[in-house]
């Protein structure tokens, strides 16, 4: 220990007005270990920093206390300054004389007395500081994207374009996600498939992108830069390498009773199927719950018609283990179940549909070949009613508390498309509020009203009753007219809330990422780090983080990609040196610390310990400093105080306590 230098900042008059800085310097000089103390107008200025550097060099200081503003403001500044002068940056402590002293106290005597004590505590702490060196860990230059919707595809493309390898894991047989199911997109009304499928093809063709379709993430271990992931490739019963995608098998398959997931269950698909014509990969899968061969060993027609010999009924799930440097969650959303909204007769009438179902009905490749017709009798509807906010913005326990964000716009889109194609159809929209923030969004909604004559009525619908004549009576209210309305409709479209995909819970647990009460993954900071999860190396893309439309999803996907690229571009990651560390000599190996570690950073090893010449094998805790974030939960769980936190050690904090209570 060579000696501590104390540097008291006036911060202009910010500190000096309520703290007698000369007195602080004087008192600091009396503290044990202090060999240098001075004051200056602005310590953070270049001249101020030069004073610190000079003192470090000339007096060969072993520790520095800067009495200035909050460490949250300038701790890094002073650490860098010390480092440049040849002192370990972690030998610097800050006494917060501005935010926590001069700015809150008015009396100069009181302020000075407290400043002296705070300085004393910082001196006591710094005298126990140890030099810390940030550790390094390697980076596997490959990223994993979980989810192959527009969010996942865009993230993967952006990462791959930067030259890094990306794997996409998609649970369904094809990438494309919800966007592939949409007919047109707002507010430009361009065809969804026309803008999405080229991206899907790009992703499939990209030499840096590898798609695991019909696969799920099974297990994740490791940490930022070095994740190990087990991927379960579900048995397709079709050999990906042999299949030519001719489609003969699907045509011939006699089991055609399964509901098409892609068409929202509005029509049927065969047991061997691709979800849709432009599926990528264009290799069918056999649904084992439907296939006659797999169920009771009959049929086998597909194998017989397959000229490539790609059908393999014996195929089994396969687990692939791969290493990644970063993981992006892009698991997307589902439309909520409408069981809690029986008043809207969704389960009673085929003509009450969700908006996503309407997308399929409007789509030329959909169950009605794009003709707007009632699912009950195939007749063209004359009156269509849209009901907004079904299950969104609820404070009861039936629905979701949040606004699903996309419904106002897609309803305006649907209304415009219908009025455009079928001018004689009356469209009524019951709304609570119309929310259209976004470029050209409100203009789009106004066009629906002003150009297309869509009837917007403010007021939520109370109930929908199916009538014996096949019509639907919508019991609504016009709050602006203060009138109850009964609207006769041929079709009712519900703007049902969206919710995160159910598997996100499981994935979040595997990634130790936290999720909120609505199952959306929590971002590291709601404003400043919106695409990162609090777990290092895990990033968020798309609706898994919160409701979003396509443009927003694509921007966020790009942002997540940039974060991933920034990570993968590094050869080494510097780790926070203020991590926990166990004293192997005395560790009990009791597991208390590992039980409370939120990062899984603590493991146990049977180590040969040399205890003053006595060699014994003990079970001891080992902290992975790349994983440890330095919270200190383990240090308190440890009964013998063997687990300590570097930079905030037990003895350092005790020294501060003692200095304050002296």
């Amino acid at each position: 220990m060579n000696g501590i230098g104390v540097f008291v900042c006036h911060c202009g008059s910010n500190i000096a007005a309520t703290v007698d800085v000369k007195k602080v310097v004087e008192m600091a000089k009396l503290e044990p270990g202090v060999v240098h103390a001075e004051e200056y107008q602005y310590m953070c200025s270049e001249a101020g920093q030069e004073r610190i550097a000079k003192a470090i060099r000339e007096k060969n200081l072993s520790g520095v206390v800067v009495c200035s503003c909050s460490p949250r403001m300038h701790e890094t500044t002073f650490r860098k300054c010390a480092e440049k002068a040849g002192l370990n940056p972690y030998m610097v402590e800050i006494a917060n004389l501005r935010e926590q002293c001069s700015w809150v106290h008015k009396d100069i005597n009181e302020g000075t007395e407290k400043a002296v004590i705070l300085t004393r505590a910082a001196i006591a702490k710094v005298s126990l500081n140890t030099s810390l060196v940030a550790g390094e860990s390697g980076v596997t230059k490959r990223a994993l994207v979980i989810g192959g919707g527009i969010a996942g595809i865009q993230t993967a493309l952006d990462i791959a374009d930067a030259g890094y390898e990306v794997d996409i894991v998609e649970k369904t047989p094809s990438i494309g996600g919800k966007m592939a199911q949409l007919d047109k997109t707002f507010p430009t009304l361009d065809c969804s498939a026309c803008i999405l499928t080229p991206k899907m093809v790009d992703a499939a063709a990209h030499e840096k992108i590898n798609i695991y379709s019909y696969s799920e993430v099974e297990k994740v271990s490791g940490f930022v830069g070095d994740f190990t992931v087990d991927i379960r490739k579900k048995a397709r019963y079709v050999d990906m390498n042999k299949c030519t995608g001719c489609g003969a098998c699907m045509e011939k398959c006699p089991s055609k009773k399964a509901l098409s997931e892609f068409n929202s269950g509005l029509n049927n698909r065969p047991a061997i199927y691709t979800p849709f014509a432009q599926a990528i990969p264009n290799v069918p899968v056999i649904d084992p719950s439907q296939c006659l061969k797999l169920k009771n060993d009959k049929c086998g027609l597909c194998a017989r018609v397959c000229q490539a010999g790609a059908i393999d009924y014996k195929q089994e799930d396969e687990i692939v283990t791969r290493k990644y440097g970063a993981i992006v969650v892009a698991t997307g959303f589902e439309v909520i179940k409408l069981d809690n909204y029986d008043e809207y007769a969704y389960s009673q009438s085929k003509d009450v549909i969700t908006s996503l179902e309407l997308e399929r009905i409007m789509n030329a490749a959909g169950p009605t070949k794009g003709h707007l017709e009632r699912l009950s009798d195939g007749k063209a509807p004359k009156n269509i009613v849209f009901i907004q906010c079904v299950g969104s913005r609820c404070a009861d326990n039936k629905g979701k508390s949040y606004c699903s964000k996309i419904c106002c716009m897609y309803t305006a889109k649907h209304a415009i498309l219908i009025r455009d194609k079928y001018p004689d159809v009356n469209v009524t929209v019951f709304y609570i509020d119309v929310r259209t923030p976004g470029k050209n969004f409100d203009e789009f909604y106004r066009r629906a009203v002003e150009e297309y004559g869509v009837n917007y009525v403010k007021g939520q619908v109370g109930k929908v009753t199916p009538e014996p004549n096949g019509k639907l009576t919508v019991h609504g209210v016009d709050l602006l007219d203060n009138k109850q309305l009964k609207v006769e409709a041929d079709m009712v479209v519900l703007a049902a809330a969206i919710e995160p995909s159910p598997e996100v819970r499981n994935i979040a647990t595997m990634l130790t990422a936290s999720i909120d009460t609505n199952n959306f993954i929590t971002e590291a900071h709601p404003k400043l780090r919106p695409v990162e999860s609090p777990t290092a190396g895990v990033f968020l893309s798309g609706v898994c983080q919160g409701p979003k439309d396509i443009p927003e999803t694509v921007s966020q996907a790009g942002a997540a990609a940039v974060k991933v690229i920034g990570l993968l571009a590094k050869d080494k990651l510097l780790t926070n040196p203020c991590t926990a560390k166990a004293d192997e000599l005395l560790c009990n190996g009791c597991s208390a610390c590992a039980n409370v570690c939120p990062y899984g950073a603590i493991s146990y090893e049977d180590k040969l310990i040399n205890d003053h010449g006595i060699r014994k094998t003990h079970r001891v805790a080992v902290v992975n400093s790349a994983l440890c974030q330095g919270c200190g939960a383990c240090t308190v769980a440890c009964p013998s105080g063997v687990m300590d936190l570097q930079g905030f050690s037990n003895r350092q904090i005790i020294a501060e306590v003692d200095a304050i209570c002296r």
């Binding site: 009990n588 009791c590 597991s591 208390a592 014994k616 009964p639 105080g641 037990n650 003895r651 005790i654």
Partner: protein, 321 residues
């Protein structure tokens, strides 16, 4: 007891175990002590009677480091401690063969003395095979009778039950001894004013001589080096100077075993000053049960302890449920 000895010899003979961890006769007939018996011959000094209150599970930390398997005798309450040690990886299951022995309540010689009986030479009626309802105390002044229950350790009056939570085999019968509520004393203290509470504990704790017997006997205090012996917190062992020194020691000791303490009562049993140390542990146990749901440490070797666990809706500090 002969059955027990025969069985132990059998297990030694067939090589299942290489030693026995049990109780050895003391010099006074009422002070047996824990002992590792390394051969069948040594077992001549073995005893298991009403005075064998000592919980042997902690000795298995040492036993786990010895060559070969150890036969350990565990009373029902000792099995909780053993499970807890197993959970904390302090003992190894495959290094031990457990005979769960029956228990009819354990005796406290101090309780006999407290009845004004002096000059005790021996006590009869404490045999495990007996009925355990009356003790005959031989003293230099003649024979005295004491009801077995009146000489029982406090902890046996609030016994957790006579079921062994872990064992390889069971031997000997038990009798239920529970006739009290273990939280009664805690309730009483909780009802006092701050002044009265402070006075009570000051009076009790000022007796503490920091002999560390409570810590050394405690099966949960199994750290290889106790914080009070190390410099980890600048808290090394030192002579008591002021009343708070002991309070600090005892609060921290109780806190360190909170959620791990099985309420085996050894701390109070061994305290030479008779400080009711279990009152600290039971306060934590009571709070844990009330705030976080019933939890019995050592009931199994897997469940997460209450202090290494949480729920999103836990009670706020200072709030009462």
């Amino acid at each position: 007891m002969q059955r027990l000895i025969d069985r132990m010899k059998e297990l030694l003979a067939d090589g299942t175990v290489v030693r026995v961890l049990g109780w050895k006769k003391g010099d006074l007939g009422y002070n047996p002590e824990p002992h590792f018996f390394n051969s069948a011959e040594e077992l001549d000094d073995f005893i298991y009677d009403g005075f064998c209150g000592a919980n042997l599970s902690k000795y298995m930390i040492k036993g786990s480091n010895l060559e070969g398997k150890t036969l350990i005798l565990l009373k029902p309450c000792d099995t909780y401690s053993f499970n807890q040690l197993l959970k904390e990886h302090r003992v190894l299951r495959d290094k031990v063969y457990i005979i769960g022995v029956g228990c009819k309540g354990k005796l406290d010689i101090e309780k006999i003395k407290a009845q004004g009986i002096k000059g005790i030479t021996s006590v009869k009626g404490a045999e495990i095979s007996g009925k355990c309802d009356e003790l005959t105390v031989e003293t230099v002044y003649g024979e005295k009778k004491v009801a077995y229950k009146d000489a029982m350790l406090e902890r046996c009056h609030v016994c957790k039950g006579k079921e062994h939570k872990i064992y390889d085999e069971l031997l000997l019968d038990s009798t239920d001894t529970c006739d009290g509520d273990r939280f009664t004393d805690v309730d009483i203290i909780e009802g006092l004013t701050p002044e009265e509470k402070f006075e009570y504990f000051r009076k009790e704790l000022s007796k503490c001589i920091r002999c560390n017997a409570c810590r050394n006997v405690c099966p949960a205090c199994s750290c290889r080096k106790c914080v009070f012996d190390s410099n980890k917190f600048d808290s090394e062992q030192k002579a008591n100077v002021d009343p708070f020194e002991e309070s600090m020691f005892h609060i921290i000791r109780a806190f360190h075993v909170a959620g791990r303490c099985t309420d085996c009562g050894e701390c109070s049993r061994v305290c030479p000053q008779g400080i009711p140390l279990h009152l600290f542990n039971r306060k934590f146990i009571k709070d844990i049960n009330e705030y976080y749901g019933e939890y019995i440490a050592g009931e199994d070797a897997e469940t997460k302890g209450p202090l290494t666990d949480y729920t999103l809706v836990d009670l706020e500090p200072g709030e009462r449920r």
